[in-house]
Symmetry: C2
Subunit: 344 residues, 2 copies
């Protein structure tokens, strides 16, 4: 019971001092995860794609969107006995519509991103939509791959109803994140945000720990306001920022429809993953866009600060720094998670 429309940042930060955690090198973590995915029946290619993201999430400090996700996929997989190979069902030089064949989004969205990049390389710009899939993880992971190719990305995802429109008693949209990415000469600028007021992964954790959630966030299955996380899991949460968040969430749901969401089960409120990839040379033909982006970020960071403020922090900067550090220091995974993976 996890959401495909989950924001990249779903999950909170890793606590390096947890006594119930084990410190692993990247290759150790990769080996444990790959073996588990192999046992779940994933091909070597798919395993490599999935682990690519899960390791990256761990390095960037996202606690729940790393190795623990394999256990969630395993639960989900039990229901997935009618998978088919994903396939492009409509294609032009600037677009592809992809039927994900009921395969996990970690793989289908990665492949979709690759197709979008390949088409943008040929045509300068491309759009790709993916449906009949679920559960793609962290949007910024795919978007960073696009920026590595030197391109600008707009990427959205939407899922099944978990978020309530203002005034509603039932959820109607997914947690619906949106992500933008721009290449610079160093770290890309990546902005990845969910549109729900509370991350679904956090809600699951609160339910698991029996912790209440703040007031005004959750509604139970009958539409009553609740601070009980377990009750809200059966109902839903409100969008962040009221009508602005609602409007944005509905934008992601609309891009989902454009990505063929309705083709999966005849339901417009279903999973959909959308990309626009743009070669910046279309508009800045001399190739200086990454340098100009670096200049923008440098200028923003150099804005005079309030007393006591050390630094103007750019979104995504923290996770890139943490990744650099963790590549050296290793990542920390719950001992219980490692045991469960080894027992699969």
């Amino acid at each position: 019971m996890t959401s495909a429309g989950k924001s990249s940042s779903a999950g909170g930060l890793l606590d390096p001092d947890r006594p119930d955690g084990v410190r692993l090198t990247v290759s150790e973590a990769n080996e444990i995860g790959s073996r588990a995915l192999g046992k779940l029946g994933f091909s070597d290619d798919d395993t490599q794609i999935i682990m690519g993201q899960l390791i990256d999430n761990a390095l960037c400090g996202y606690r729940f969107t790393s190795l623990p996700r394999i256990l969630a996929i395993a639960e989900f997989e039990k229901f997935e006995d009618n998978r088919k190979p994903m396939r492009v069902i409509h294609e032009t030089p600037v677009s592809a519509l992809i039927d994900g064949g009921n395969n996990v989004g970690y793989v289908t969205v990665y492949r979709g991103m690759e197709i979008a990049v390949a088409k943008a390389r040929q045509s300068g710009i491309a759009t790709v939509g993916i449906h009949n899939s679920y559960y793609s993880g962290r949007l910024a992971y795919f978007v960073e791959r696009v920026t590595e190719a030197g391109f600008v990305a707009i990427h959205t995802s939407c899922g099944k109803p978990r978020t309530l429109p203002p005034g509603a008693a039932r959820p109607a949209m997914g947690t619906n994140p949106i992500c933008f990415g721009f290449p610079t000469t160093k770290y890309p600028y990546i902005m990845d945000m969910g549109t729900a007021a509370f991350m679904w992964g956090e809600l699951m954790l609160h339910a698991h720990l029996g912790q209440p959630i703040p007031e005004g966030i959750g509604y139970d299955a009958k539409g009553h306001a609740t601070t009980d996380a377990a009750a809200a899991l059966l109902g839903g949460v409100v969008p962040f920022g009221g009508h602005k968040g609602f409007g944005l969430s509905l934008v992601m749901q609309s891009f989902g429809v454009l990505s063929g969401a309705r083709l999966t089960r005849g339901q417009v409120q279903d999973f959909g993953f959308f990309f626009v990839v743009v070669d910046p040379k279309l508009l800045i033909p001399d190739g200086s866009f990454p340098e100009q982006m670096t200049e923008l970020i440098t200028k923003i960071k150099a804005t005079p600060r309030q007393p006591g403020v050390d630094e103007i922090r750019i979104p995504s900067e923290r996770s890139f720094r943490e990744r650099d550090q963790r590549r050296v220091e290793g990542i920390i995974v719950d001992k219980k998670v490692v045991d469960s993976l080894n027992a699969l």
Copy 2:
């Protein structure tokens, strides 16, 4: 001294009962505005484009982004003695980079939108960037034109520094709105949002009326928190929603750089207007996307409601309804504004 990066909704709603207002038919308002723009030296073509938006803004109930804007343009125009014809400086079948020639954005962005639509008609998708321009008004106006052509639009704009990054003492981004539009079988779904916590037009109004603004919003020219609107006009405002709003604002600034912002004055933090236009038939080739969007909106509106809630309101719905009504009932304009326009 008004902002180009203004959100469509800048300005608040019209109060139909104001005693200092005059009720005008669309053609009366158009005649007054067109005559004023003609006196300011705008060509008939440009006048028609500008009035198209100003009348639409009035019909949709936006008080300050209608005829009063002509007075603001007039003030701005005094500084505009080096205008040149706008021109496409780089072009492919899927893109155009436009030098706005220091002309007003109402016109350059409209022309850019037309070029994006024409290219999307040919190629299925297109991106257009416009720089060396300012002051385009309400993003939703351009985006609605794109949806009338049957296309999906992503449109952003950014302006000169007015919004402070978290922790900053000086503004670094514009008020930077973003707008998305999707065709349906009836009204399009249009989501148009600024990323500043307070609309610049509202700030100007508060300063004009000597009214304070809420705490935590404004900073003066020295970077001190202030509730004095006039002081905040010389400093800036915070983004909405903290780091999320900041991250989004920086996305718009990045699209501005992609649109050639730096080419205007060598400054990355300058005006830039960006479009992506997508023919939904690229992904939904049977042409049923508008019907599917209508189904989505219908489903969302049919979500069970909280007790006492009459309706799930979709963003942009209110302004479309008001427009239908005002086309019959006429629009209300400040008497002072009409007098000032007639005196130009």
